[in-house]
Amino acid sequence: MHIVVCLKQVPRDNSVKIRPDLTIDAEGIEKIINLFDEYALEEGIRWNEQHGGKVTALSIGTSDWVEQLRRALAMGATDALLLSDPAFTQLDPIAAARVAAAAIRKLGDVDLVITGRNSTDDESGAFAPALARLLGWPQVTYVGKVLELQPGGILKVERHLESVIETVACRLPAVMSVIKDINEPRYPSLLKIKRVAKVEPPVWTAADLGLSTADLTPTAQLVERVPPPPRPKGEIIDGPDAATKVRKLVDKLLEYQVI
């Protein structure tokens, strides 16, 4: 069985700045595997431990993303693959899915793609559905539990939505996105981290994937990117004791008509 896990590198927190050319400046913020993708990776590794075969960590990014792919290998991925090209720098989620789909087709023998429900920086959750449609495979998103996964057969999962849990089945190959609740990702041991420290994963470019500029052009043009409007200046409620403060607070809440 061949499982591909799609990983995105993101800043650890979102205290990013905006450059004059409207690109995001995450300088000085530690780069990590998108949290939800780490759950996807753990799920892929667990099923690989059960069924054997391969679990490939795949990422789209510049050469410094190799760091996250090495971490994936240290956690238990059997293979890593970096899709890297200057043409990949400003991909929207559907174009990113187009790049990943081309790589998955080129790999040829993939049974299941797992990824996080969304990235913590872009937050759209569009990548997994777009990838499934481009591959022509069924999709199961927001999965909180895999009930059954048979190589060459059935995938049966629980989708954890806002207020219901759906149990859904489909045939492989398929694309699955996972939520945080699905498992507890392992910490790679120091020994394993050392063992993969010098691994150089293969790198595929746009040309290797047969992608043209038209495949990668975003459907929309970014015209403005600004920080959120500042919140109106707040007010500290003072008083000689807790009871007075509480009374004044409730006065204000009534005045604001929020209770």
């Binding site: 927190d13 979102n14 205290s15 995001i24 939800f36 913590t120 937050e123 759209s124 959750g125 569009a126 990548f127 997994a128 559905p129 777009a130 499934a132 449609r133 481009l134 069924p138 999709q139 199961v140 927001y142 049966k156 954890h160 939505l161 806002e162 207020s163 219901v164 849990i165 759906e166 149990t167 859904v168 489909c170 045939r171 945080k180 609740d181 459907t219 929309a220 043009q221 970014l222 015209v223 403005e224 990117r225 600004v226 920080p227 959120p228 919140r231 707040g234 007010e235 500290i236 807790a242 403060k245 509480v246 009374r247 607070l249 409730v250 809440l253 009534l254 604001y256 929020v258 209770i259």
Partner: protein, 325 residues
């Protein structure tokens, strides 16, 4: 191309609030585009389709089939494609739920359309669709302009627009569309309500507790009763979810839920950047914390410096007394 198509959602036997918002905004955008406003009811939503006429739709489409009784990506995309073929919309609007994210991204991919998820504003500027959406936990607000000539699928964040006002005398013609040979590749085996489900995203008032409460017992002794007195829901910071005090379901923040209630009370929550990401657009934010330097005070509308264990019981009592609860 022809105007705006709103994908309807039902709650019980009524139009969902988000659908009324989308019909209101859709009306305005259709007028700006010089087109008409259509609504699409898929599967069981057909029962309330006619209501869209009261709220401004010029044309209503329904698509029903046994395979559409439950949501599947294939079924809903096929139904939407039938409506696109009939109406040729410039803009397709739906809400931003998990199910609609699954649907909207798939539909946009199939159509080769533009896509915006979690839009908080949509405008027509010089004939082109422009959409604004937050990213990076609300720290970045992006505005995109879409090329004309290609349709756009926009998923809209709840409570971004005022709801359309009902016009009881108004109605719109209903056209039934069909989809041929629909066999979704995913099979829904069961749908069960989530045990102890909390729809934080829909709550008008949220009371959130953090590590400042000291322990799990204090959380349950103080936070749910205050939420209940206010008729609201209760949330939790990531720190106490990770420590196992409260289920993940309640987590507010970058890796939990993004909420925007009219009142958000943060008690014993320091205000880590990843928490602020999930609640900073709340209308009124109350912070209660013993540390006057806690970052939460920087975005709070009202702040109380003090011990949550002393203040919360008093606050719950005061609210019950003043609201006669």
């Amino acid at each position: 191309m022809n105007g705006v198509l709103v994908v309807l959602e039902a709650v019980g036997d009524d139009l969902a609030a988000i659908s009324r918002e989308l019909l209101g905004k859709g009306r305005q955008l259709a007028d700006a585009l010089g087109g008409s406003l259509a609504a699409l009811a898929i599967g069981p939503t057909k029962a309330i389709a006619a209501r869209a006429g009261n709220f401004g739709a010029d044309q209503i489409y329904t698509v029903d089939a046994p395979a559409l009784r439950q949501y599947t990506t294939d079924g809903y995309v096929a139904a939407a494609l039938a409506a696109v073929k009939a109406f040729h919309p410039t803009l397709i609007l739906a809400g931003t739920s998990f199910q609609m994210r699954d649907f909207g991204a798939a539909l946009a991919t199939d159509l080769g359309a533009g896509l915006v998820v979690d839009a908080t504003d949509i405008q027509v500027v010089d004939g082109a669709i422009q959409a604004t959406r937050p990213s990076h936990g609300g720290n970045v607000i992006n505005t995109y302009r879409f090329a004309t000539g290609t349709p756009v699928v926009a998923l809209v964040r709840k409570q971004s627009f005022p709801e359309a006002v009902a016009q009881p005398d108004r109605s719109a013609p209903i056209t039934e569309l069909t989809v041929a040979e629909l066999t979704p590749r995913t099979e829904v085996l069961s749908v069960a309500p989530k045990a102890g489900a909390v729809n934080l995203t829909d709550a008008a008032i949220i009371v959130t507790g953090g590590r400042g409460l000291g322990n799990k017992e204090n959380y349950y002794r103080l936070i749910p009763p205050l939420a209940e007195a206010l008729g609201g829901a209760y949330g939790a910071s990531r720190a106490i979810v990770d420590d196992g005090w409260v289920p993940y379901e309640h987590q507010v923040g970058q890796t939990g839920k993004t909420v925007s209630p009219k009142l958000y009370i943060a008690a014993g929550v320091s205000g880590a950047i990843q928490h602020l990401a999930g609640m900073r657009t709340s209308r009124t934010i109350v912070a209660i914390n013993k540390d006057p330097e806690a970052p939460i005070f920087r975005i709070a509308t009202l702040g109380v410096v003090g011990d949550v264990n002393e203040i919360l019981p008093l606050l719950t009592e005061e609210i019950k007394a003043r609201l006669n609860r």
